[in-house]
């Protein structure tokens, strides 16, 4: 492991320690403030009428009897403005991309079951739902398609008669030639399962249009408040100066809350139509399963060639992603296919690559960003290929991976998709994971059980590279009209020497207030407890794209670090003038100014801040009052985080039950800011990954009804299903101000491949389809 030097190694450093999280106390005593907790006087509640059909023309919407009900205050449909004239259109300049217009409230046609059609406003949610029942809609059913790889019955959008919204081919080298020379050619069809983010807190918003000054305030559980403000201004024809978006405490997001939804726009529009009245909508779980974004409904047709020594020679793939009814705003239908094709070969060296990816619209809820974006599925596909090649070549599944890893000597490694890998530490991760897993002991036990009646055991391995903290070059792929490479941070020392930070990051439980405070505390040289971080308010922080792509520690953290250093610099300069001592002899540590070599500090930060704000007469010539700085940071490229997971399980062959025995994960997080938070991110992501591997599955029937519409049928694992985990770290610093690599998503990348590989190892059954249920295992054994 690499030694990392901090800004001031002698100081009371905060970075690197599991300091107590700033958020926890208020959460633990029940004083967190979520959107649902906001109770403004005169609030009115919205319930949406949602389509019961997956695909239908709307012939008429009759709201007359609902309007007659005295408890209904207002009803809005998409047939009238402002709703009718606005739609959500995700833009991309990719040549084959076809835009879709997602209505705020569907009025001519519905394209998925659960699509909002009308909004009813009442004094409480109960009455609003009563009102919804009084609306009568006459539908004309259209043929329905919920599978992206069956022949389309009826186009969803007239612009895409084949329902294909995007196609892109990644090509490098000569695949056919390489396959012809291969010793072994593997062909597989692999299918991953449709899932949803299911944060504990579903979506929620309160919108208030203030008639006095024409401002709109929108409290929203969004992961991306600045993007939301930007979009709302455009969609509602308002100036950004008059919109404030506030994301208060948010109870989980996982990507689901990184999209702007029709419901968000609807309640803002309603607020403008009902000036002075706070308009509130809190999504319930049934709505969430039905209409929040879904993900990972993919099929991979893969052909791979290997030489006799296990070298991967060529990879050919055809990847189809079910993107649902609309191209998700603002990320586009490209979000999953482009990621799947861009990173399919993972941590392995590869020259010959030919991969066609496509986004296919179906009558299902739109697919959007979900923790790990596509890669839990693409890693599953790639690792299935590696496992099978090993079996066919008589190699161990470990050796074949070693053979193909991108290594430190290859860095920077240009992948066949032109992404640049800056890590290369996969083998080190694998070594450490094997050590923690104790493979020899496992193999001995596996051997021992083979002759007995005891349940067979197997182990599986997943090696992956997570592209984190994408800068402007790395985020260019989807060709959207914005590049998510940068964030801003403002750091300000208050007149009493305490520090307030306005950061562009957002937090859905990841502890960003803590992480940013640690960075700033060390950056300036003050105590962690003296730093307060404010996030999630577009009127306070200058700019931030928000939470997605494991970007915030890298980019938001980088901006915090840069701003803190500028402030520190000014403090030292001012101290130097006041003390008449050369700046190079001064140290700022623990909120005090020390002269190098002395035991007592000369000045406190509070004394300096007082001069900066209150005693301009003592400021040197040309120095402005105040101690504040705002800096942006953009890493240009990204930081690849290497990761390896190894797990073992036993199978009860009489029921197909899978019991996980051991789970090891080793990730390279670069420099770890807060070990407890990093471990929490990894453990939570693995748990979510195990959910996807074994339980979570959104299933539509042939008519496009969601069969798994409650948590009785959409199974999220509980602590009873999640094993203890052994988490190991490597710390190879990345090339950014803090040396950090993102760890928010990596954990989700492993479990599909680990479980599938381990079942194959235990039973000799090839897993082609997720999730791996006991029923599927049992059927496989018959």
């Amino acid at each position: 492991m690499t030694e990392i030097t901090g800004v001031d190694p002698k100081g009371n450093e905060s970075v690197g320690r599991a300091v107590q999280r700033k958020e926890d106390y208020r959460f633990l005593i029940g004083r967190g403030h979520y959107v649902s907790d906001l109770r403004l006087p005169g609030t009115r509640h919205v319930a949406f009428l949602r389509s019961p059909l997956a695909h239908a023309k709307i012939n008429s919407i009759d709201i007359s009897s609902a309007l007659e009900a005295d408890f209904v205050e207002a009803i809005f449909t998409g047939e009238s403005d402002p709703f009718k004239s606005v739609s959500l259109i995700a833009r991309s300049a990719l040549p084959s991309y076809i835009e879709t217009a997602q209505p705020i409230l569907a009025w001519d046609k519905v394209r998925f079951s659960g699509e909002p059609i009308a909004a009813v406003v009442a004094t409480d949610r109960y009455l609003a739902e009563d009102g919804v029942e009084l609306i009568e809609v006459e539908y004309e059913r259209l043929p329905t398609n919920v599978s992206a790889w069956s022949t389309p019955a009826e186009p969803l959008h007239k612009e895409a008669l084949d329902n294909v919204l995007l196609e892109r081919r990644f090509q490098s080298g000569d695949v056919e030639d390489a396959l012809a020379g291969a010793e072994v050619v593997i062909e597989r069809e692999l299918i991953s399962n449709r899932q949803g983010g299911n944060p504990l807190e579903c979506r929620a918003g309160v919108a208030l249009f203030e008639p006095g000054d024409g401002t709109l305030q929108f409290w929203s559980g969004t992961q991306v408040p600045h993007l939301v403000r930007n979009a709302l201004a455009e969609l509602m024809g308002m100036s950004e100066a008059k919109i404030r978006v506030i994301a208060p405490d948010v109870g989980g997001g996982f990507g689901t809350k990184a999209a702007l939804y029709p419901e968000d726009v609807a309640i803002c529009m309603i607020a403008r139509l009902m000036p002075g009245t706070p308009i509130k909508w809190v999504e319930d779980r049934a709505e969430h399963l039905l209409s929040a974004t879904h993900a990972r409904d993919h099929r991979y047709l893969v052909t791979a060639g290997f030489s006799s020594d296990g070298t991967l020679l060529a990879l050919k793939a055809d990847v189809t992603c079910n993107v649902g009814a609309y191209s998700v705003y603002p990320w586009t239908a490209g979000i999953e296919p482009l990621m799947a094709g861009g990173l399919l070969s993972g941590p392995y060296r590869l020259e010959n690559y030919d991969c066609m990816v496509r986004a296919v619209a179906t009558n299902s809820s739109p697919s959007g960003p979900y923790r790990g974006v596509a890669r839990p599925a693409s890693v599953f596909a790639m690792e299935a290929i590696m496992d099978e090649a090993a079996r066919r070549l008589g190699m161990s599944t470990i050796d074949i991976r070693r053979k193909n890893f991108i290594g430190p000597q290859d860095i920077p490694y240009k992948m066949p998709t032109r992404l640049v890998d800056d890590s290369g530490h996969y083998e080190r991760c694998l070594d450490k994971a094997l050590e923690l897993f104790d493979l020899d002991q496992f193999l001995e036990e596996q051997q021992r059980r083979r002759g007995t009646n005891e349940p067979p055991i197997g182990f599986g391995v997943a090696c992956y590279n997570e592209l984190t903290g994408l800068g402007r070059a790395a985020s260019a792929g989807p060709r959207m009209p914005f590049r998510t490479g940068h964030d801003a941070c403002t750091v300000k020392v208050n007149p009493d020497g305490t520090v307030t930070v306005f950061s562009g990051v957002t937090s859905q439980g990841q502890g960003l207030e803590t992480t940013v405070a640690q960075i700033v505390a060390d950056g300036i040289g003050v105590d962690y407890d003296d730093v307060q971080v404010r996030i999630g308010n577009t009127d306070e922080s200058l700019w931030g794209f928000g939470a997605f792509s494991s970007r915030q520690a890298v980019i938001g953290g980088g901006a915090a670090q840069l701003s803190a250093l500028v402030v520190r610099d000014k403090v030292i300069r001012l101290a130097s003038e006041l003390l008449e001592i050369d700046i190079n002899d001064l140290i700022l540590r623990d909120g005090k100014i020390w002269v190098a070599g002395e035991v007592e500090p000369r000045l406190s930060l509070a004394e300096i801040a007082r001069v900066a704000y209150l005693e301009s007469n003592r400021l040197p010539d040309g120095m402005e009052p105040g101690l504040e700085a705002t800096r942006f940071y953009d890493p240009i490229r990204g930081a690849f985080a290497a990761g390896v997971q190894i797990g073992s399980l036993e199978v009860d062959v009489s029921t197909g039950e899978i019991r996980i025995l051991k789970w090891v994960c080793v990730e390279d997080a670069g420099r770890v800011i807060n070990p407890a938070i990093v471990d929490g991110q990894i453990a939570g992501a693995i748990a979510q990954g195990i959910g996807g591997a074994m339980y979570e599955h959104l299933i539509y029937d042939g008519d496009g009804n969601l069969s798994t519409g409650t948590l009785m049928d959409y199974l999220i694992p509980t602590s009873g299903e999640i094993p203890e985990m052994i988490i190991g770290h490597l710390q190879f610093p990345a090339d950014n101000p803090l040396g950090v690599r993102g760890v928010g998503e990596g954990g989700t990348l492993g479990p599909n491949a680990v479980i599938a590989g381990a079942v194959a190892d235990a039973l000799g059954i090839l897993v082609d389809q997720l999730p791996v249920t006991e029923g599927a295992v049992w059927e496989g054994l018959q």
Binding site: Y126, A286, E657, S707, M712, L715, T718, E721, T773, E774
Partner: protein
């Protein structure tokens, strides 16, 4: 996901509760006990009673009493967690442990579970396997119904609209076995099997394979006709059970898989019955 409007009354006695039921026109009143099945139905607007009659404050319905050497009476408001805690019936203790999670077991009641008649629920299966007798009251009637006749179909029981369960008489089996397979900790079982020997006769009831708990008559015959419960006989009974069920498949498990589970779980429950587990100490975990 909010209930449609309803009125609400608190009943002070069983008599008053059933009178409320009888007095409501169009028979649209419902009793609410623990609310663990009814509340979700209300929230999804799948049930739309005009009146809810709350029986939770009726005194005397939350007790378990021993009425003979071999039987206990369980009040309708006895919560699942009290079944877990009691020591009279190790079978009920074991079965109740499998119901949902602790929050649900703290509120849910035995009467509610039986009345709700979910074909995968543990207590109806145990009721059929042990031959419980359900004590029912109406505005002017009092009667008992054998568990076997109580369940009519999925979420359907044989109570009249103005009747309620007051208590159940539960025979204490000499020997028993219980086996369940759930996808996650706390889920309803994909298949659940209870086998109980009461007064020398073994009954086997299976849940998850039909619209109500299903008796495995052929397997029971094999077991009851034989003096000893050999491994071979258990296998035979398990296969007979599997051959007799016709479950529906769904995305939690195909029909074929459920049949496979029936075989395995009947085997396990009979093994447990044969090992005389019922006399062993209660596992409190």
């Amino acid at each position: 996901m909010k209930p449609a409007p309803f009125d609400y009354v608190v009943a002070a006695s069983p008599r008053e509760a059933v009178q409320y039921l009888a007095d409501v026109e169009d028979a649209s009143a419902k009793i609410i006990a623990g609310g663990q099945s009814l509340m979700p139905l209300l929230a999804l607007r799948l049930a739309r009673p005009s009146l809810l009659v709350d029986i939770n404050r009726i005194p005397g319905l939350e007790t378990i009493e021993r009425i003979s050497e071999t039987t206990i009476r369980i009040g309708t408001l006895v919560r699942h967690r009290m079944l877990c805690a009691q020591t009279n019936s190790p079978l009920l203790h074991e079965a109740a442990r499998w119901i949902g999670h602790s929050a649900i077991r703290t509120r849910g009641t035995i009467g509610g579970s039986l009345a709700h008649a979910d074909p995968a629920a543990e207590l109806p299966i145990v009721a059929v396997a042990t031959g419980m007798v359900i004590e029912v009251m109406g505005p002017s009637t009092q009667r008992t119904v054998d568990a076997q006749d109580f369940f009519i179909g999925t979420l359907e029981n044989s109570l009249a609209d103005d009747e309620m369960i007051v208590s159940v008489i539960s025979p204490l089996p000499e020997r028993w076995g219980f086996a369940e397979y759930t996808r996650r900790h706390g889920d309803f079982g994909l298949v659940t099997v209870a086998a109980a020997e009461v007064q020398g006769e073994v009954k086997i009831a299976v849940g998850g394979v039909g619209s109500k708990p299903v008796r495995m008559l052929e397997s029971e015959g094999l077991v009851n006709d034989s003096v000893t419960l050999s491994g071979q006989l258990i296998d035979q009974a398990a296969r007979a059970a599997a051959a007799s069920v016709e479950p529906n498949g769904d995305f939690h498990g195909s029909a074929r898989y459920r049949i496979g589970l029936v075989e395995e779980l009947v085997r396990r429950s009979l093994r447990q019955l044969g090992s005389g587990q019922a006399d062993s100490e209660v596992d409190w975990s």
